[in-house]
């Protein structure tokens, strides 16, 4: 359900960045969503599409790039993808790991139609 808050935040970021008259020119908003960020992509898309209905952003497509959960091992220094519920280095079995990627939640770019 917090996907609704996130969809609102995405829209308010975009409305702050893009001048109001240019909002209908936006084609795609591309965001990065980490696998380990507790976000359900379908819920986020549903919330976003519901919120933009009948607004200047009506035709905007929200594109999600899912970022895999990866950890950096503090023992062997290698970076690996791991399963979400077993934080163990596949190379050396150490559990002294730091998150390398997978908690991302950011707007990467906005694609505009310049015609």
């Amino acid at each position: 359900m917090h996907e609704l808050s996130l969809a609102k935040e995405i829209i308010s970021h975009v409305e702050r960045i893009i001048p109001v008259d240019d909002l209908p020119k936006i084609q795609t908003i591309k965001i990065h969503v980490g696998e380990f960020s507790n976000i359900m992509p379908d819920s986020l898309l549903f919330a976003f599409n519901s919120l933009i209905e009948g607004t200047k952003l009506n035709n905007v497509r929200l594109e999600l790039e899912i970022v895999a959960l990866k950890v950096k091992c503090n023992t062997c220094q290698e970076v690996h993808s791991i399963k979400m519920n077993n934080f163990v280095c596949p190379n050396c079995n150490s559990n002294n790991l730091q998150l390398f990627s997978g908690s991302e939640l950011f707007i990467e770019s906005i694609q505009m139609n310049d015609d």
């Binding site: 359900m1 970021h13 380990f36 950011f106 770019s109 906005i110």
Partner: protein, 216 residues
């Protein structure tokens, strides 16, 4: 067609307010913990017992988050401590601005420890920084010992886990050992306590540890 690079965190506004909260808490020398769990794990009972044990040694204040009613705040009001209730009207998590607002409404500036009881939910609150010193996750034995495996983000993001309602262990099919093992698979640095608010078991250890965090 043009592409505008943005690279902006979606929760930037929340993070900025959380940082502001952190500064406010620090300026008043207040230690803050954000308590997370599923509904009904016993967060409010744990807070009550913690206050009763530590009341004469440290000043405690509570911000209560619930989707509806101020029943929890009413419970804590009888303990004569500053309490502010946030009713989220169905909202599934607390955000930094709600805590900022609640803090300004309460008489918290003289407290040593501020406990923020989040909305009962193991998913959504995990991603929202409120400006706390640490997150603590409460899990009761009745929920099953596989909880950490099902909700890894909240267990990874927390510093402490309290296994509550251990007086009910004879009646349920879960163990402290297995619950701890599963949680440590996600977060090996998790500090673990096992408590019962009914018998009082484990509460002294937890309260002693908590008190020592304030003196660090």
């Amino acid at each position: 067609m043009s592409v505008l690079k943005i690279e902006k965190k979606i929760l930037e506004k929340n993070d900025q307010i959380a940082e502001r909260n952190r500064g406010i808490f620090l300026s008043h020398n207040i230690f803050t913990m954000n308590m997370l769990s599923s509904p009904g794990s016993g967060k409010t009972s744990l807070i009550e017992k913690t206050i009763l044990k530590l009341d004469e040694q440290i000043k405690i204040g509570v911000i209560e988050g619930d989707p509806q009613t101020d029943l929890d705040a009413q419970r804590l009001n009888s303990l004569a401590i500053p309490v502010v209730q946030i009713i989220t009207n169905g909202g599934c998590h607390l955000e930094a601005n709600l805590v900022n607002d609640a803090f300004s409404k309460g008489n918290f500036t003289n407290v040593d420890l501020l406990i923020i009881e989040n909305v009962g939910n193991l998913v959504c609150p995990a991603g929202f920084d409120l400006g706390e010193n640490f997150k603590i996750v409460v899990v009761s034995v009745t929920e099953g010992d596989d909880k950490p495996l099902k909700y890894p983000v909240v267990f990874r993001n927390s510093s402490v886990m309290i296994i509550n309602k251990i007086d009910l262990l004879p009646f349920v099919n879960s163990s402290i050992d297995q619950l701890s093992k599963n949680a440590l698979k996600i977060n090996p640095s998790l500090k673990i306590f096992a408590t019962s608010c009914y018998t009082g078991e484990g509460l002294d250890l937890w309260c002693e540890w908590l008190k020592n965090q304030l003196n660090r």
